[in-house]
């Protein structure tokens, strides 16, 4: 059945709308908070070697693959990953086997899309909380890390207080996703992404030029130098290489519930994807290496001296936790100017997160749309699922604070381990094998069609056939080992013994239910719409 017979479809209104949406999808909290921590822990300046090597021989080629999968699927009105993979896989396998592969991918996509977004929007709620504190000026009441922690504990332990920023973020996601690509997502990213870069540039200039009145010897440049100091001995540790690949994976949002193929499915058949994908990766690297590699550690040292550096560099604490506990005190102690800088910092982080979350919510919405439910109802169902699966985080915070154990985030950390570490790598491995290795020739033609640049053949064939599968299998082994779930569940000691495993079990139950539901939706949708397409 030709494309014309399938009827009209939604497409991006402008090229820059597409690129900003894809860049927004990639640019998230990880650029500004995860990357600096990884650099500090895995070799400093020397980490650039595994990082950039992974970018060129793994990240960018898999990005090209995902864009090609998406644009190909869009021809057949497939706007989520599972039916796309069905259409592609049946070129080499029987329909039954192709359906089975698609069902697995559909299950993983729904479980990942819902659970990851559920905890991510909780975290974005905390960013919205500090943004609100900054805008209202109340952040000036916070002048020590202890006070910041008290505000955060109050937020996490009071379910109503915690629900407000979480629900606010979910409502914004619905408002953005429900109208569709051109009228919702594209409009939102055209506002959020320029503002994100503007705020980041302002904070970058502040970091590089301003000396705080807290202690004049706390030089922001020194903070950056701490991070970039090379420790070449770390390159002998396989962890640095795997973490370099892992960071590239997370930062480019590869394999995450098929969100890149979903966005690419709205591209017209003859429009460029090779150069557009490279441009998206470029914008992500500007946000990560230049801005993320400067702001967090620079500001941390300027406002807190060596303590934040020691916390990350030596004790292995995540810069994310510093962002919500130490940084509010930094901004708060500077009065009005600090409140303004804090507002920029937390709004930037919220924008970075929401532009990623909207891509996830959109993918889930497309799944339900294929059941004939209509866009608005599908978006509402998606957001409702996010609320239900994110609610345990709020409840856990309340219970543990009420019993004076925390608050803790076992549910969040466990879900992050299973979904954030494992499932996306598995999805990427399936994409690489079935859409890359098996049909690399057709894929190479697809990715270069309409291209404003030509994808090098060695990057396409060599990576998808050899390098990517090896790396991805190694990551599947390494990432769970590095996360160590026993540490997650045992983190708070004896009083938490029943609640920690209970939260992990609840998360597992949600993941299993969503996986089964995703597989069933996939099979139903494919039998209804896609069974004979692409022949």
């Amino acid at each position: 059945m030709g494309e014309q017979q399938l009827g009209p479809r939604e497409t991006w209104a402008t090229k820059w709308g597409l690129i900003l949406a894809m860049a927004g999808n990639a640019i998230g909290l990880g650029n500004f908070l995860r990357f600096p921590g990884r650099v500090a822990l895995y070799g400093g300046g020397a980490y650039l070697l595994p990082y950039f090597l992974s970018l060129f021989i793994l990240g960018i080629p898999i990005m090209w693959l995902e864009w090609a999968i998406g644009r190909y699927g869009g021809q057949y009105r497939a706007h989520w990953l599972a039916p796309m993979m069905y259409l592609i896989t049946k070129k080499r396998m029987s329909k039954g086997n192709a359906l089975a592969v698609a069902a697995i991918i559909g299950g993983l996509s729904l479980a990942t899309g819902v659970m990851l977004t559920a905890y991510y929007t909780n975290i974005l709620g905390w960013m919205a909380f500090w943004a609100g504190m900054s805008i209202s000026g109340r952040i000036t009441e916070v002048t020590t890390t202890g006070q910041a922690v008290m505000f955060l504990v109050e937020l996490l332990s009071d379910p109503l207080y915690n629900l407000v920023p979480f629900v606010f973020t979910l409502i914004m996601l619905f408002i953005i996703v429900a109208p569709g690509i051109a009228k919702g997502i594209e409009r939102a990213v055209k506002i959020m992404m320029p503002l994100l870069f503007l705020f980041a540039v302002v904070l970058l200039i502040v970091t590089l030029t301003w000396r705080t009145p807290i202690k004049p010897e706390w030089d922001s440049i020194k903070g950056m130098m701490w991070m970039w100091t090379p420790r070449a001995e770390k390159l002998a540790d396989p962890a640095s290489w795997l973490e370099g690949a892992g960071q590239i994976f997370f930062t480019l949002s590869l394999g995450i519930a098929g969100i890149i193929p979903t966005y690419a499915s709205y591209i017209k058949r003859e429009d460029d994807i090779a150069l557009s994908a490279l441009t998206t990766a470029t914008l992500n690297e500007i946000a990560e290496v230049i801005m993320g590699g400067t702001i967090a550690f620079g500001l941390g040292y300027a406002f807190g001296g060596a303590d934040p550096i020691i916390a990350v560099y030596i004790r292995g604490k995540s810069p994310f936790s510093l962002a919500i506990t130490s940084y509010p005190a930094f901004f708060g102690s500077l009065g009005g100017i600090g409140a303004a800088l804090g507002a920029m910092w937390y709004i930037l982080l919220w924008f970075a997160g929401v532009t990623s979350a909207m891509a996830l919510a959109n993918s889930v919405t497309e799944m339900f749309s294929d059941l004939g439910l209509g866009r608005k109802i599908s978006a509402a169902i998606s957001v409702a699922l996010l609320f239900i699966c994110g609610l345990p985080i709020v409840i856990e915070g309340h219970i543990t604070a009420f019993y004076d154990w925390g608050p803790t985030t076992v549910y969040l950390d466990y879900t992050d381990f299973v979904i954030g570490s494992l499932s996306l790598v598995v999805i990427a491995l399936l994409e690489t094998i079935f859409a890359g290795y098996f049909i690399w020739k057709e894929g190479y033609e697809e990715v270069n069609r309409g291209g404003l640049m030509k994808v090098p053949l060695w990057m396409w064939k060599g990576v998808l056939s050899v390098i990517a599968p090896i790396f991805l299998v190694a990551m599947i082994i390494w990432l769970p080992y590095s996360a160590r779930p026993s540490a997650i569940i045992a983190q708070t000691g004896a009083p938490m013994e029943w609640l920690g495993p209970a939260m992990a079990a609840l998360s597992s139950a949600f993941i299993i239910v969503l996986f089964v539901a995703g597989a069933i939706i996939t099979i139903k949708a494919i039998k209804k719409k896609y069974l004979t397409l692409g022949e």
Binding site: L275, A281, E285, I286, I290
Partner: protein, 56 residues
């Protein structure tokens, strides 16, 4: 000063000196920025040459 010694106090009160020589840090930071800049320039060049070819 490009060499700094930090004293980290452990939870049992032991003091551990950590010496960091960050004299080569600017080189590596500049290298990172340079790679990103080169990718950016390459992408801009390709957009411009692609638009030129379209006009022809």
């Amino acid at each position: 000063m490009s060499v700094e010694t930090l004293t980290v106090v452990t939870t049992n009160g032991k003091e551990i000196p950590i010496v960091i020589d960050y004299s080569s840090a600017p080189i590596f930071m500049a290298l990172g920025w340079l790679v990103v800049l080169l990718i950016t320039l390459y992408a801009i060049y390709k957009w411009k040459s692609g638009k030129g070819a379209e006009k022809k």
